[in-house]
């Protein structure tokens, strides 16, 4: 019972904002074109769900987002760990990472379109490039902190180089790597929606842009809120996964 009360208090600000939104719109305090009532936004959301627009555009967004992120985790994670363990590799790759780090990845939207066109490929490449940086840095910092006594123990018990990477370096890097992936997750949403908004014929970003340009502002708000809620839910689930993966920590 106490927990229910606590949760209720925690989400109270959201309820207040929702009520205020509805009230401001109903009382015509602002132009209803700029801020349609929340109830109408909800109605528009059900319409978008019914005619399948939200689901089909959402599916292609999720496909692009997860493909780009997955590539970033696999390639960026491996790259970071190898950089941490191999001096020459570090010397070759680290300057590139540092150079690429401060570049706003959204500046690459036209570049990836030039390379791969308007479809899925350019979005996946953009998300991959953007997300790879925090993942690589997380894996690198985490792997560099691996205790040499652990590596020595594994080696003296018969582990080879590959085994040590998998059995010692990766789990040692895990806390920082997982934090890097969390940053990448947020970045993936940003890059996904902004690239779809600018150049795409599908996806959440496209839908937001299309509904906005045709004056269906209720629908536009509905999609924006959907993306926000989805981002929140994904981050929450990710945090639970992280807790479970790091359950061995005190």
């Amino acid at each position: 019972m106490e927990n229910v009360a606590k949760t209720a208090v925690r989400y109270l600000p959201i309820v207040i904002v929702m009520v205020a939104w509805e009230a401001i719109a109903r009382l015509n305090l602002v132009d209803t074109l700029a801020l349609p009532p929340l109830s109408k936004v909800a109605a528009a959301w059900f319409d978008l769900m019914r005619d399948g627009e939200l689901v089909s555009n959402g599916a292609s967004s999720l496909y692009r987002g997860s493909a780009g992120l997955l590539l970033a985790v696999l390639i960026g994670g491996t790259l970071g760990m190898i950089m941490a363990r191999c001096r020459i590799f570090d010397m070759l790759i680290n300057p590139l990472v540092e150079l690429f780090y401060p570049l706003p990845k959204s500046a690459l939207i036209p570049v990836t379109v030039l390379w791969l066109g308007f479809g899925d490929g350019s979005k996946i490449l953009l998300i991959f490039l953007g997300c790879m940086i925090p993942v690589t840095i997380g894996a690198y910092n985490g792997a560099r902190g691996s205790d040499h006594a652990l590596l020595w123990s594994a080696r003296s018990m018969g582990a080879g180089s590959f085994r040590m990477m998998w059995d010692v370096v990766l789990p040692s890097a895990l806390p920082e790597l997982l934090n890097g992936i969390r940053t990448a997750l947020a970045l993936a949403f940003i890059l996904l929606v902004s690239s779809e908004l600018i150049v795409s014929q599908r996806g959440f970003g496209y839908l937001i842009g299309y509904l906005g340009s045709t004056g269906s502002y209720e629908g536009m708000y509905a999609v924006v809120l959907t993306v926000a809620l989805l981002g929140f839910a994904v981050d929450r689930i990710y945090q639970l996964l992280m807790q479970w993966l790091l359950r061995w920590r005190d």
């Binding site: 652990l150 020595w152 123990s153 003296s156 018990m157 018969g158 010692v168 895990l174 061995w248 920590r249």
Partner: protein, 264 residues
């Protein structure tokens, strides 16, 4: 070369090269023979290179000058014949007690039922029955070191390298662990090289103590420390106390030198 020796250290030098700063000669002209099933302590002040010598025997550091033979073969890399126990346990924090003890057995390619049985036997031996599924972060220092010892003993190395294994434990736990280590060693004799800066610990545990000098580390003296029995009661006997005094005087001189060297 002594035909009986299991480990032969011959004229070994080692230079420590910090990433920044000047190289330092850590070990100078070390020669040492260690017999099979002998318990030898390396005793010396901090920074005398005693751990470095242990790591060289373990094959963890490259041998730059001189040579080290184990069973007549030059040491080139770490191997399961030489198990190591570190001061800070070096347990895999993401593995449970059972997972840690199983790890070496997996790497040695033992079939699953056999390694499960063997891991359990060693967990029981070090008194951790009931803690198989605990993570190291949930255990006390003494229990962590027991786990590390079980993990190392499980792969049955003929040589046990111990790097100040009880140095991070409180005094009571340390003395319990010393007695237990002796029991284990008496039950299944292995060659032990035990690094410590604690004179009493060295005299109590070891059959011979190699006293090392301040940097650069040399073997200053080798002292026999065999007693008719190794009950904790000998700690108060006259001969034990005299032995400790004798070694303490040697180590103290070196500790003072080491302090002066760092002070200047």
């Amino acid at each position: 070369m002594d035909g009986q020796a299991q480990i032969v250290v011959e004229r070994v030098n080692h230079t420590y090269r910090p990433p920044r700063g000047r190289p330092v000669l850590a070990l100078s002209d070390i020669s040492l023979d260690i017999r099979p099933r002998e318990f030898l302590a390396l005793l010396g002040p901090s920074g005398c290179g005693k751990s470095t010598l242990l790591y060289l025997v373990g094959g963890f550091l490259p041998i730059e000058a001189g040579r080290i033979l184990v069973e007549g073969k030059p040491v080139a890399a770490p191997g399961p014949d030489r198990g190591i126990v570190f001061q800070h346990f070096a347990l895999f924090p993401w593995k449970t007690v059972r997972g840690n003890v199983l790890y070496g057995l997996e790497r040695q390619g033992l079939p699953r039922p056999e390694r499960e049985k063997r891991a359990q036997a060693f967990i029981d031996m070090v008194g951790l029955h009931g803690f198989e599924d605990s993570y190291p972060s949930q255990l006390s220092g003494g229990m962590r070191q027991r786990t590390a010892i079980a993990r190392t003993l499980a792969i049955d190395p003929s040589i046990l390298l111990m790097d100040e294994p009880f140095g991070a434990l409180d005094a009571q736990t340390r003395s319990l662990m010393q007695t237990e280590l002796l029991k284990i060693w008496q039950r299944s004799p292995k060659t032990v090289i035990f690094v410590t800066h604690d004179v009493q610990e060295a005299v109590y545990l070891a059959e011979r103590v190699a006293v090392m000098s301040a940097r650069p580390g040399r073997v200053k003296a080798i002292v026999e420390t065999k007693f008719p029995n190794r009950d904790p009661s000998i700690l108060r006997s006259k001969e034990f106390v005299e032995k400790v005094d004798q070694l303490w005087n040697m180590v103290r001189d070196e500790a003072i030198k080491a302090q002066e060297a760092t002070g200047s």
